[in-house]
């Protein structure tokens, strides 16, 4: 048991080291691509970056699974574990999407985000394995958090692409020019990015809908009401509504394009807010950070 926890932590640190290297190489790739005339063509650094990211992700999986085995339950019962699993899913979503579309150009963003999040949870939120209190012993914990983690992974990827879209749009309008922004030539056109972001966010939205519903069912089992406007419920609702607004914005004339992308980023901002500020500083029934 003790050993497994230690191995898990060791794997987590190794993951962070590999993600750091991958992040550096992704950035080098973008920088070099900015210099070449072709712009679009990936450099050989990109291959190495992907290889390191995949290796890191495998170790990340090891870290997550051993943590779960050590705790003899799902590895997402406190903030550290949620962060560990959510970043694993985030990188997994990014890698998985490559089979469908070449999205390696947001690799720097995704590896950077994963690294940052993993670093923060490991340094600030780490807690030892402890058994679950009765209120958290439920299959709904497994389902609810599982879909929340998946939703977060997709939203993060969607936000990465929306951010790229905004830069690209400004670039296309020549409002961002010069060498510093030349790396944007490695990115697809803004309209392509918008469609990509939309499709990924829509998948995230479906998972988030399940998060909301599974949470309500669990709340009914545990607290005797399926909805009580508890702080965490409020924020889950806000996020859901914001992404619904984002979906509508794409069908509303005058809102497509940059406004939609900004809504997507605002909504993802609410996801991050919900995970950090709400968990740590807000009062409510969902006290599970374990800190």
């Amino acid at each position: 048991m003790e050993n497994l926890v230690a191995y898990s932590l060791l794997a987590t640190y190794s993951t962070m080291a590999l993600y750091t290297l991958a992040f550096v190489l992704f950035t080098v790739d973008l920088a070099l691509r900015a210099d070449t005339e072709a712009g679009q063509k990936p450099t050989r650094w990109l291959r190495s970056a992907m290889a390191l990211l995949i290796l890191g992700w495998v170790l990340h999986g090891v870290a997550t699974v051993t943590r779960g085995i050590a705790a003899a339950r799902v590895p997402w019962a406190n903030m550290f574990e949620f962060g560990l699993t959510a970043t694993f899913v985030l990188v997994g979503v990014f890698l998985g999407v490559q089979f469908w579309r070449d999205l390696r150009f947001v690799g720097a963003f995704v590896s950077g985000l994963a690294l940052l999040a993993l670093g923060i949870v490991t340094v600030n939120f780490y807690v030892d394995v402890v058994p679950l209190p009765p209120a958290l012993q439920s299959v709904w914990l497994v389902i609810h958090v599982c879909v929340a983690v998946l939703g977060t992974g997709f939203f993060a990827t969607g936000a990465a692409i929306s951010a790229a879209q905004i830069f690209q749009e400004l670039h296309e309008e020549k409002r961002l020019s010069g060498r510093n922004w030349a790396f944007l030539r490695a990115f697809p056109e803004a309209t392509v990015l918008e469609t990509l972001a939309y499709r990924i966010n829509v998948i995230g939205f479906v998972f988030w809908t399940f998060t909301l519903v599974a949470g309500a069912i669990w709340a009914e089992r545990a607290w005797g009401r399926y909805w009580g406007w508890d702080t965490k419920e409020v924020w889950t609702f806000i996020i859901w509504i914001l992404f619904a607004a984002y979906i509508h914005s794409r069908a509303t004339r005058g809102w497509r394009g940059r406004s939609a992308a900004i809504l997507s980023l605002v909504a993802f901002g609410a996801v991050i807010f919900n995970y950090t500020i709400v968990n740590l500083f807000f009062k409510g029934l969902h006290v599970y950070s374990g800190l």
Binding site: V130, R221, I241, K283
Partner: protein, 557 residues
């Protein structure tokens, strides 16, 4: 009325044309490509409005209605709803955190007044929050109705006519088939049919459409949202909830007088309570040591109960996360603690008080506080404030503390008062509080007489008043009992919403037209395809259709 917006169509075009045209060329948007966006049916109704250019009040009403039901308004209302929900997470809510509200009032009475005037402590029932969601739902209904009637029509109509030019369609293909015109069109129609298109042949052309379920799913989703709100609006008034503490060995019978507290819905009728009984036999918690913090933590709570309905009794286990369904209600295990049994005797030995007293726990090791009131039977009224320690341990300071939530060394201490308990004034008193304003302390902390009782110990009250004995130890549970008639409706609506969402998101709406031209003995087929949404697979799917007829290398786009 001069300030009213012009009631011709151009006046509200801005409001109602917020819908997607999706970058489709305007000339195709008329008949052939006016996919059933909510804009489409409204365009038809706009046509009606042109005939009556001066409608006055009615025109204004129409203007407001169109404004309210436009996509842009819906979007803005959604964002507003999200923003309006925020204060409720920053300020304690009466519904979910009443103690927090009381605390807020004590800390800052002025700010409390101000916030309260804005309904900030009842955010989710406040007029402004309600206004936003009601407007949103009016907008939603106004959106659903025309879309549904339009979609209903489309569902039974043939696919739209062939556009005059294919030039601006998303995907176009042309190829030759070594067959006469009829056979070639038959082959194209067959290919489309096998790809689940609705197909109509007309002269030398085929028109086809698929993916109607996209709009159907979308409508089901939005209707289900209305279903959720309607259920909440109509059914919640019939619900109720109540709380009750049950001590081991005692039973709860489901009638109004048995509840410690009760919150009826607006239409609650006392006869709705089905008579049943729940007796708590034993309550068993389980604790483990959390090594990292050095404290005990609960890992399981099980209440072993006997449920009696009519003539039948049966055993059941009530646990956290596993509510008990009985008599149309759900019973939830929410709290627990110790109820030391206390016996008080008069000097002559007659028992004047003997019952388990619920002590409310204060910390993880279940140090608990309780109050005993003896109004009658002794020479004076007696009130006692007690501390209970399941495993009493002496701290270095000399004070007692509990070091384990299990009763390994159960100990009671009391501060004892005599005087007026204040029970006779007809004012309801909290059983967990003792008002000592009109009382004098006769024993306990800060007096010469310490009262510290182990299980089975007795104590002689000063002045020959009588004796108190720590005569037994039981546990209690706190349960919440609920009847929530909204669950079924909300559950069904939610399931429909999710189903609609999944169907809508996973369906591609596509239209395909094929025009045949005879080229001697062969035929040239021109394909045009258009989708309503972003559909990156449109070209590939069209090519797949053609591949069913001819080898793809003969196709030009």
């Amino acid at each position: 009325m001069a300030s009213l917006p012009p009631s011709d169509t151009s006046g509200h075009e801005g409001a109602s044309s917020g819908e997607r045209i999706g970058g489709q060329p305007a000339d195709l948007d008329k008949d052939t490509l006016s996919f059933d966006t909510p804009g489409a049916p409204r365009k038809n109704r706009n046509a009606g409005a042109i005939i009556n250019p001066r409608l006055g009040a009615l025109g204004f009403a129409r203007f407001v209605w169109r404004l309210l039901t436009s996509m842009r308004t819906a979007l803005i209302l959604l964002v507003l709803l999200a923003v309006a929900a925020i204060p409720g997470s920053l300020v304690p809510q009466r519904s979910s955190d009443p103690n927090g509200v009381v605390q807020f009032r004590t800390n800052d009475p002025e700010l409390f007044e101000f916030y309260d005037s804005l309904s900030l402590f009842d955010t989710y029932t406040s007029p402004w929050f309600s206004a936003i969601y009601l407007l949103l739902f009016i907008s939603l209904i106004g959106c659903i109705l025309p879309r549904t009637s339009y979609h209903w029509k489309v569902l039974f109509e043939a696919p739209p006519a062939v556009p005059t030019s294919f030039a601006r369609l998303e995907v176009t293909r042309t190829h030759r088939v070594e067959a006469d015109l009829n056979a070639a069109l038959d082959a194209a129609a067959a290919a489309l049919r096998s790809a689940r298109y609705r197909v109509v042949r007309e002269g030398s052309a085929v028109r086809a459409e698929r993916g109607y379920m996209r709009e159907t799913g979308n409508l089901v989703f939005h209707v289900a949202l209305v279903g959720i709100l309607a259920t909440l609006g109509f059914a919640s008034g019939f619900g109720w909830s109540g709380q009750r503490v049950i001590v081991e060995g005692q039973a709860f019978t489901n009638q109004l007088s048995s509840y410690d507290s009760f919150n009826p819905g607006r239409f609650f009728d006392e006869n709705a309570l089905e008579p049943y009984g729940v007796r708590l036999n034993t309550f068993t918690p389980e604790y483990v040591m959390d090594e990292s913090k050095g404290s005990w933590m609960p890992i399981d709570y099980t209440a072993d109960v006997t449920v009696t309905e009519g003539q039948t009794s049966s055993g059941a286990a009530l646990k956290v996360n596993e509510p008990l369904s009985v008599g149309g209600t759900s019973m939830y295990l929410l709290g627990n603690g110790f109820a030391p049994e206390i016996t008080v005797r008069a000097p002559d030995g007659t028992v004047v008080f003997q019952q388990p007293v619920v002590f409310l726990s204060q910390d993880a090791n279940l140090t608990s506080l309780g109050v005993v009131k003896i109004p009658d039977g002794l020479a004076e009224q007696v009130g006692m404030k007690g501390f209970f320690y399941p495993t009493a341990t002496m701290l270095s300071s000399g004070a007692l503390a509990s070091s384990n939530p299990e009763p390994l060394n159960p100990t009671l201490t009391f501060n004892i008062y005599t005087g007026d308990l204040g029970l006779d004034q007809g004012v309801p008193r909290n059983v967990y509080e003792l008002n000592t304003d009109d009382m004098t302390q006769i024993a306990g902390r800060h007096t010469d007489v310490d009262v510290e009782l182990a299980l089975g110990d007795s104590f002689e009250l000063p002045g020959g008043l009588g004796t108190i004995e720590f005569s037994g130890l039981r546990r209690f549970i706190g349960v919440d009992i609920q009847h929530d008639p909204t669950q079924l409706g909300v559950g069904i609506s939610t399931a429909l919403a999710i189903a609609g969402l999944l169907v809508s998101f996973s369906t591609r709406r596509r239209r395909v037209w094929v025009v045949a031209t005879a080229k001697g003995s062969a035929t040239e087929l021109s394909w045009g395809a258009q989708s309503r949404t972003d559909d990156p697979r449109l070209a590939a799917s069209t090519d797949a259709l053609i591949a069913r007829i001819v080898p793809t290398d003969k196709v030009s786009s």
